[in-house]
């Protein structure tokens, strides 16, 4: 054990680094420079993802550091200079059983919260509303089936417009998806052409849009705000340029938005003039 104390300083450093990594204050609804960990989650699923990932980080770093230290110690202790005569040991039943059983135990410890999260995130129990997302090359259609089929398209703003609108470059859109806070929202995703993936990191939501299928996921946004995501399945030349912008509003504000949106998007395909008007508001 005496030799191991030599590793205490780097070990302590690594543990501190690990803790910093877990607790890094990178809370944002959009990526930030030099970010190390997840974006700040605002859904109950996201909270579980975060907790579970913290457990995984401890396990990951624990295993990696253990293997690294063991390897380093072995290399040091049994280098040719200090151990010129190798042993011929090739078996040790106890240790072979141990290094099979202990990983199994660790995996079981991981599996319990993993399954809990998986089944929790699958579907909303009693959805308060539904939103249908249809992916296209290279924009999104959002439909509110509960609101007389309110439908509109969401296309990326170019760099100048995004700047004017206060959105980050490549993340701003003309018509964001607007949802109320605190409601269980069923999200149905499909595609009109090739595969796309509806991915909003801070909501812990990702599901493919595939023609001929309606894939289901859900979200409940607990904090009003703006959340950005991007298409996450290669879909052609403009794959990098079909962002998702979700605005979560308080109930009253959302009701107001609905009224306005129903007028604005009275036709399924708003005329260029209407789109222009919407953009200028």
């Amino acid at each position: 054990m005496r030799v191991v104390t030599g590793f205490r300083a780097p070990l302590a450093f690594t543990v501190v680094a690990l803790l910093l990594l877990v607790a890094a204050p990178v809370m944002a609804s959009q990526p930030t420079p030099w970010q190390l960990n997840f974006q700040d989650f605002v859904t109950p699923v996201g909270a579980l993802v975060d907790d579970f990932h913290t457990l995984l980080l401890v396990v990951e770093f624990g295993i990696a550091i253990f293997v690294f230290l063991l390897l380093a110690y072995t290399c040091y202790r049994f280098r040719a200079a200090s151990n010129p005569n190798p042993s011929k040991t090739t078996h040790n039943t106890l240790i072979e059983v141990l290094w099979t059983v202990i990983p199994v135990v660790i995996l079981v410890i991981i599996a319990v919260p993993s399954f809990k999260l998986l089944y929790f995130m699958d579907k909303a129990e009693n959805p308060d509303m539904t939103i249908k997302v249809t992916a296209n090359q290279w924009y999104w259609d959002y439909e509110y089936p509960d609101q007389e089929g309110l439908t509109f398209s969401s296309t990326m703003l170019d760099a100048e417009d995004a700047k004017a609108a206060g959105d980050p470059r490549l993340l701003g859109v003309d018509n964001p998806l607007v949802v109320p806070v605190g409601q269980n929202i069923q999200v149905l995703v499909t595609s009109n052409d090739v595969m796309h993936s509806f991915f909003v990191p801070s909501l812990a939501v990702q599901i493919y849009g595939i023609s001929g299928r309606a894939n289901e996921t859900w979200m409940r946004i607990d904090k009003a705000g703006t959340y950005y995501g991007q298409c996450n399945q290669i879909c052609g030349v403009n794959h990098s340029f079909m962002p998702i912008k979700v605005i979560a509003m308080e109930e009253a504000e959302y009701a107001q938005w609905l009224l306005k949106a129903k007028q604005e998007f009275a036709m399924d395909n708003p005329s260029p003039e209407l789109k222009l008007a919407a953009a200028s508001q």
């Binding site: 049994f78 040991t89 090739t90 599996a111 996921t217 298409c231 030349v237």
Partner: protein, 535 residues
């Protein structure tokens, strides 16, 4: 593994004279192995140049060098296909396998030498077809296949005027046929041509790894062949296997592709495991710890590799119970992989370790593969993967197991067997420089990708939101360092051939106890005139 091997003759009797007869008509396992390694090396350089070009583009936000997303998508696709089918597989399985499986089991050659010839000569046309596809009209009217190496329909099956995707499909057909023939050859060789006394349970672990890999190839590649053939008929002959409008389902292609694709990643890493086992034992001067456990861990990895494919598809709308099953099955792989890691360390424990270059690459592989392994455990959980799928976290993970697993295994093998294959010693100094530059380069490139991925950066993006700039810049610098390392390696090879420092039969001492070290360096054209026998 003590062997009383017969010594082979030193002179190259029987080698055909003339370039065409020696190489084009070759039925000699060592010559074919050499051609595979050179061919794979060319593929590796092409793939590396593509990756450096991509990292140049990603070094800063905005479009730097490329005109639009089509160029990007084509490069992403070609980089993946080239690295998998035209670098790692030719070098690690066909190259080292051809060279050393017959030598290690005391066989004079492969079981089917002419089939071996056609296996190799299917590869250059396959590469030519793939390269051609980059210059023929494809996705979106632009040249090349821009659908990612996974070629998911409908993007890959959409009606297009050009034939880029068809050429890529034919390329994979040829490469696949080559792999299947090679696999049949390896299986027959290992089962039928072992020297007397060399039972299955006394074979070197590298031979075990090639045997398991050959079975994976034989079972997985035909599934890919079927899938891409259906894709071909969807594209050209009006079928609709993968077209929802005609009653098909794009997700069917994903199932077929990943039923091949997941074993494929083990096909790339298992021979590297075998190489590392040989090296760790050699340079610790100690037999492999838990030999049977090591051999059957590879069998277990191979078997489980076939029943975990849908962990690549957690986000396509699979039933939640299905996802739960694939989560559990995927995590199981960590157990035999852990057995391998710990057995390597146990092999070193009590040994007398010398840190020659092959050992350095192997130690680096053990460390870096462990990192790729633990991030794999993270991704195996469907709940987490819904947020990490297709992000740079995944790119980081699989480059840790491939670019640091398979690649480091390849270099470990090259530095281990270079004196045997060429008869010359390489420069230790240049080798060390190459090792450390590569080690720093790949870590600098791929470790930051975990951070970008957690922050939500999607893969296959030519341009990213400005916040991702920092880590992308670091990654790009890392890829340049790896590029410089590769130049050092090419220089090392040239230097070794021009300095002509003769290598002895066994440059590694008593730890190197497998049969290939009993023949001269380089081995004679025909090895084992007298059949070696094992006690």
């Amino acid at each position: 593994m003590s062997a009383t091997a017969a010594h082979a003759d030193d002179h190259d009797h029987g080698a055909p004279i003339g370039f065409v007869r020696r190489w084009l008509y070759s039925t000699n396992h060592k010559d074919i192995g050499t051609m595979y390694i050179i061919f794979g090396g060319i593929g590796g350089i092409v793939g590396l140049l593509m990756s450096i070009y991509m990292r140049m583009e990603l070094q800063a936000p905005g479009l730097q060098y490329m005109t639009d997303g089509n160029v990007w998508n084509v490069l992403v696709t070609a980089h993946g296909l080239v690295m998998v089918f035209f670098f790692v597989m030719p070098v690690v399985i066909s190259g080292f396998g051809n060279w050393f499986v017959p030598l290690m089991i005391g066989a004079p050659d492969m079981a089917f030498p002419r089939m071996n010839n056609i296996s190799f000569w299917l590869m250059p046309p396959a590469l030519i077809l793939l390269v051609l596809s980059m210059f023929v009209e494809g996705t979106g009217g632009a040249p090349g296949v821009g659908a990612g190496w996974t070629i998911y329909p409908p993007l890959s099956s959409a009606p297009q005027t050009g034939m880029a995707m068809d050429l890529a499909i034919f390329s994979l057909h040829l490469a696949g046929a080559s792999s299947i023939l090679g696999a049949a050859n390896f299986i027959t060789t290992v089962f039928n041509m072992r020297a007397p006394g060399m039972t299955l349970h006394r074979m070197p672990l590298f031979v075990w790894s090639v045997l398991v890999t050959a079975f994976l190839l034989l079972l997985a590649v035909p599934v890919l062949a079927g899938a891409i053939t259906m894709l071909l008929t969807d594209r050209n002959f009006g079928t609709s296997f993968f077209d929802a409008a005609g009653g098909g389902d794009p997700v069917l292609f994903l199932h077929l592709f990943w039923f091949f694709g997941h074993p494929e990643v083990y096909i790339m890493i298992l021979p590297a495991f075998g190489i590392v086992s040989q090296i760790v034992s050699t340079f610790s001067r100690k037999p492999v710890f838990g030999y049977l456990g090591m051999a059957y861990a590879m069998v277990a990895i191979g078997f489980v590799g076939f029943i975990v494919w849908a962990h690549h598809m957690y986000t396509v709308g699979l039933d939640v119970d299905t996802r739960a099953y694939f989560t559990a099955a995927t995590m199981v792989i960590a157990v035999p992989t852990g057995v391998k890691i710990f057995s390597w360390i146990a092999t070193m424990w009590g040994g007398s370790i010398s840190f020659k270059l092959p050992m350095m690459w192997s130690l680096a592989l053990i460390i870096l593969f462990t990192i790729g392994g633990v991030t794999g455990v993270v991704l195996s959980n469907a709940g987490i993967d819904m947020t990490l799928h297709n992000t740079y976290f995944v790119i980081g993970h699989f480059h840790y197991v491939l670019s640091m697993g398979a690649l480091f295994g390849i270099f470990a093998g090259i530095y281990f067997w270079f004196p045997k294959m060429t008869g010359y010693h390489y420069s230790e100094k240049l080798g060390n420089l190459h090792f450390w530059l590569t080690f720093i380069g790949v870590n600098l490139t791929f470790f930051p990708m975990h951070f970008s991925g957690l922050a939500g950066m999607p893969r296959r993006y030519i341009d990213y939101p400005d916040a991702f700039e920092g880590w992308n810049y670091v990654s790009s610098i890392g890829s340049y360092v790896s590029g410089i390392a590769s130049i050092v390696f090419l220089f090392l090879v040239w230097e070794a051939f021009s300095a002509k420092r003769k290598a002895e039969d066994n440059p590694w001492g008593e730890g190197a106890d497998t049969l290939e070290w009993t023949v001269s360096s380089p081995p004679p054209f025909h090895t084992f005139n007298e059949q070696p026998k094992f006690n």
